[in-house]
Symmetry: C2
C-alpha cells in the first residue's frame, strides 16, 4: 500500500462510518450527501474522490457489514459459551442489547436497507442478500455443531432460515411497539420450539 493510500484510509473510513450511521438511523433516501459530509467532518471533494455517488457509498457500507459480522456480532456472542445452541440465543440476545441501548429505535441495519432499497438498487440487493446469507450460515453451523442433540430428520438449513426470519421480524416488532416485549415474546417461542426439538431427539436417543 502506498503512503498516499495509507493517509487516505482514515478519511474513507470516516465517510463510511458516517454514512452507515445516517442510513441506519434515518434511512437511505432521507440521508443527503451533505449530511454525510458534515457528520464525517470532510469536504465533499473528499467524498467524491472515494465514492462517485450515494449508491457507491451504500455498497461500501454493505461491504463493511459483510466484513464485520464476526467482530461486531458473532465473536462477542460466541465468547460467552461454547454450547452451539446457547450460542444461537447469545447472538439473538446481542440484538436485544442493541434494541435496549437505542430505546427500540434503529432496528437491524441490513433489514432496514433490504426493505428500503432492496427492490430499487440491484447491486445493493445482491450485497444485502450476501449479508443475510453470511449470518444464516453462522447459525446453520451452530445447528450442525449441535449434532445428535437435534432430531436426525430436522432440516437444519430450513431452521437456520427460520431463525434469521424470527430475528428480523422480532426486531421489527420491537421497533414498531417501542418495546422489548414483542422481541422477548418471539424469542421465548423460538426457545420453546428449539427446546421441543431437543426433547424429541433426547426421547429418540433413549428409545434406541
Amino acid at each position: 500500500m502506498s503512503q498516499l493510500v495509507q493517509e487516505q484510509a482514515p478519511t474513507r473510513d470516516r465517510i463510511v462510518t458516517a454514512a452507515r450511521e445516517l442510513f441506519w438511523v434515518q434511512g437511505y433516501e432521507a440521508t443527503s450527501i451533505a449530511e454525510i459530509v458534515e457528520k464525517a467532518g470532510v469536504n465533499s471533494g473528499s467524498l467524491y474522490y472515494f465514492f462517485k455517488s450515494k449508491e457507491a457509498l451504500l455498497l461500501a457500507c454493505l461491504d463493511w457489514y459483510l466484513g464485520n459480522l464476526w467482530p461486531e456480532v458473532i465473536d462477542p456472542a460466541f465468547a460467552q459459551t461454547s454450547d452451539p445452541i446457547a450460542r444461537i440465543f447469545a447472538v439473538l440476545a446481542g440484538y436485544r442489547i442493541g434494541l435496549n441501548y437505542t430505546a427500540c429505535t434503529g432496528g437491524c441495519p441490513i433489514g432496514n436497507l433490504s426493505i428500503e432499497v432492496g427492490d430499487h438498487i440491484p447491486s445493493a440487493h445482491e450485497k444485502i442478500r450476501q449479508n443475510f446469507e453470511n449470518w444464516r450460515l453462522v447459525i446453520r453451523g451452530c445447528l450442525e455443531d449441535a449434532g445428535e442433540r437435534l432430531p436426525a430428520n430436522l432440516d437444519r438449513d430450513q431452521l437456520a432460515t427460520f431463525i434469521l426470519t424470527v430475528m428480523e421480524g422480532a426486531v421489527m416488532q420491537a421497533r414498531a411497539h417501542g418495546s422489548l416485549a414483542p422481541f422477548d415474546a418471539a424469542i421465548a417461542q423460538l426457545r420453546n420450539y428449539v427446546d421441543g426439538l431437543l426433547a424429541l431427539a433426547d426421547q429418540a436417543a433413549k428409545k434406541s
Copy 2:
C-alpha cells in the same frame, strides 16, 4: 352527508389508492406529492384540499389498511376453512400469493412503513402499531378457538406475536432473495412447531 362531500369521496379515494401503491412500491421518502397527483389523475389543489401534507396522506393510508384488514386479508383466508389452525396458515398463504404475484417485490406495506418511517413520524408510528396489533389479535383469536387442541400451558398471546414476527421476517427474506424459498422454509418450520404443539396436547389428552 352533503352532496358536495359525496362528489368528493371518489377523488379522495383515488388519492389514497395512488399514495398507498407508491408508498408500497417505492417507499414513503422516495415518493413525491407530484407523483401521487399524477398517478391519481387529480390536480394538486384537490390533493391539498383533502390532505394538508404528505404526512396526513400517510396517516390516511394507514387508516385504510386498518379498515381493510378483514376484506382484503382475513375474509378470503377464513372463507377457505373453518379450522382455526388451518385459518392461520391460510392467512400466511395469502402473503405467499402476493409475493408470487409481485415476483417477490413490494413486501408487506405495513412492515415497510414500520421500518421506513416508524422512528420519525410519531402519529404514523401509532397507526403502524395498531395495524400490527389488529392482525395479531385475529391470529390470537384463532389460537383461542383451537381450544384444547393446543397445550393448556401454551402462552397463546406470545404465540400470536411469534406468528406475526415470522410472517414479517419471512416476507422480508423472500424479498431480499427474490425467491419464495426462504418464505416457504420459514413457514414450514412454523408448521413443524405448531404440529409439535398439537401433538403434545394430543398426548396429554390421551394420558389423562
